[in-house]
């Protein structure tokens, strides 16, 4: 039975039970979103295309982090370090060995997954706060290796990556790379949503909810925690690799602990443990500085002193947004969206 809006579960076939989108309304929303994503680059100028690309890369990274933090409950502040691993790996493979980008990106994803699993080893003995501190240490160590291993990574100098080309078309214009990035976004989202319908994903969630009970039920904590780090770092490395080929310049400043904090903020504000939450949070936190800058420019004529304050206002608003969301809506933008949908679904019977 196909309903327009959810009003109970009445599946009659296994296929109906396992679809990703059950009701007409959900399917229409997805199709509209896809159409919007496909049409957008034809009508947007460079500035907005650039923004959309940044948002796309952020979504990939946020989904990766959400797998680890939201679904498996392992707090990780090592995001910047893992993105650096992904970026530098693909950059070096392309620059030194001449491997084309469509091969070096997957290779660097797998390598980042390996590094992630290694730095996930402390999670076997540590939980909660102590794990967070261990991941801070891993972030600082990775960054130190990147800035001091001059022979391989060029140290503090920028690593310049050659432009990615496909059939001699330069792929990293804003327009061309848009398709690559958003194809990766779609792939990542689909893979992640399906991951949590497999036994791996259920094991991750069990670890988050009550790890001792999970281990009693036969889930090997060692194996699945390392897997969680690996899978999460795979996607995080993908985000880093995309940055490397999009910007063609890889510097360590793009991967400091502030980046780790930014991504954590994205998934907390968006909603922990959900792919749609990652979409919301990544979009919100990427667009926030841009919106503030434009607002500042618009107001500049009336309050001239604003201009020099804009970076500080951006930083203050970043912290303020985190604090306000955590105080007033700890489950994030996704909860707000769900509340809105529920309001319309249940109207006028909102009690």
């Amino acid at each position: 039975m196909k309903e327009t809006m959810e009003s109970g579960i009445f599946h009659t076939t296994y296929q109906a039970d396992m679809t990703l989108r059950r009701t007409h309304a959900q399917k229409i929303r997805v199709v509209l979103l896809l159409i919007a994503v496909v049409i957008f680059p034809f009508f947007a100028d460079r500035y907005f295309l650039n923004l959309a690309n940044q948002v796309g890369i952020a979504i990939v990274g946020a989904i990766g982090l959400n797998i680890l933090v939201g679904y498996t409950g392992q707090i990780s502040l090592g995001q910047g370090g893992f993105m650096a691993v992904g970026a530098y790996t693909t950059g070096l493979l392309t620059k030194i060995f001449g491997i084309p980008w469509y091969l070096s990106i997957p290779i660097s994803c797998f390598f980042t997954a390996l590094v992630g699993a290694i730095f996930g080893i402390p999670s076997l003995r540590l939980k909660g706060l102590y794990l967070a501190i261990a991941t801070i240490a891993s972030q600082e160590i990775i960054l130190w290796v990147v800035t001091h291993w001059n022979v391989v990574t060029g140290g503090v100098d920028a690593l310049v990556v050659p432009n990615p080309t496909l059939f001699d078309i330069r792929m990293n214009t804003d327009f061309n790379f848009y398709w690559i990035i958003w194809a990766c976004v779609g792939l990542t989202a689909l893979l992640t949503v399906n991951l949590f319908r497999t036994h791996w994903g259920r094991a991750f969630v069990a670890i988050r909810d009550q790890d001792i009970a999970a281990s009693v039920m036969g889930i090997n904590l060692f194996r699945y925690k390392l897997l969680a780090f690996a899978v999460s770092s795979f996607f995080v490395g993908l985000a880093g690799a995309l940055i490397a080929h999009y910007r063609t310049i890889v510097t360590w400043e793009r991967f400091t602990i502030d980046v780790s904090v930014l991504y954590l903020a994205m998934i907390i504000i968006g909603g922990l443990g959900s792919v749609s939450g990652s979409f919301f949070g990544a979009t919100f936190m990427t667009l926030l500085p841009a919106v503030l800058t434009n607002l500042g420019r618009a107001v500049k004529d009336y309050i001239p002193v604003i201009d020099s304050f804009i970076p500080y206002i951006q930083q203050a608003s970043f912290g303020l947004v985190i604090i306000l969301f955590l105080i007033f809506e700890p489950e994030g933008l996704r909860k707000i969206w769900n509340n809105t949908k529920d309001y319309f679904r249940l109207w006028p019977f909102s009690y």
Partner: protein
Amino acid sequence: MELFIQYTLSGLTNGAILALAALGFVLIYKASDVINFAQGEFLLVGAYIIYAMIAQFGLWWPLGMTFTVIIAIGVGVTVERFVLRPMIGEPIISVIMVTIGLSSVLQAIVKMIWGSQPKEFPPFIPSDPVKILGATIGADRLWAIGIAIVLLGAFSLFFRKSREGIAMRAVADDQQAALSMGISVKRIFAWAWSIAAVTAAIAGALVANIVGVSGTISSFGLHVFPVVILGGLDSIPGAIIGGIIIGLLETYTGAYIGQGLNQVVSFIVLIIILMVRPYGLFGQQIIERV
């Protein structure tokens, strides 16, 4: 040999300041179970306020220090009341992120008011070179060590002997039991955050005396983590000893092994400690019961 003494004294200075900053961290954790990622920013705020008092308003330094302490108490109480009170009972990741957000806001406010350029700090502690055991060290570093020792000793006594101190230890141990004994947990939280802000402000003032006032003071906060993990998150003597060890370790590494390594050695030590003995030297073992 003189060089060794020089390095030791230098390491002890860093260690003493780290211990002061770590003290506030441990206090907040002991009393309210919160990890304050904004501790570095408390140091920053303290340093800039005393800069404002002495350099911009031209006050006599004890008066300036007193005002700084009062303002620090105000900051601590405000933060506890408006930012941390709503977070009671939330999962730890939310609390961590709230303090991270707070650190962003504090940094931005400081930069908005005073700009992001490093400032000349008129040192109010004399820095004439003093010879000890053949090594020369600026007197300001000795003063820093001395002040830190005095403060740490005073706080240790406070926690052992005074009513408020014992009340804080009771709240840290078991909030419910403390509440049923008539201790006002809200006031204890406010006390804990105020004392943490005050110790951070004093530590910030000492740092400013030695290296000047700039935005980099807040990165000191990141180095507090190895100190408190080594010493034990809920142990005050641990903070002191951890601070001294890490301070000496960083200085010796920088001097004898290489300049680059001293930034990262404390983080390597951090990971090793976390793997071997996560509760640190003096921390309380938390046995997880199902």
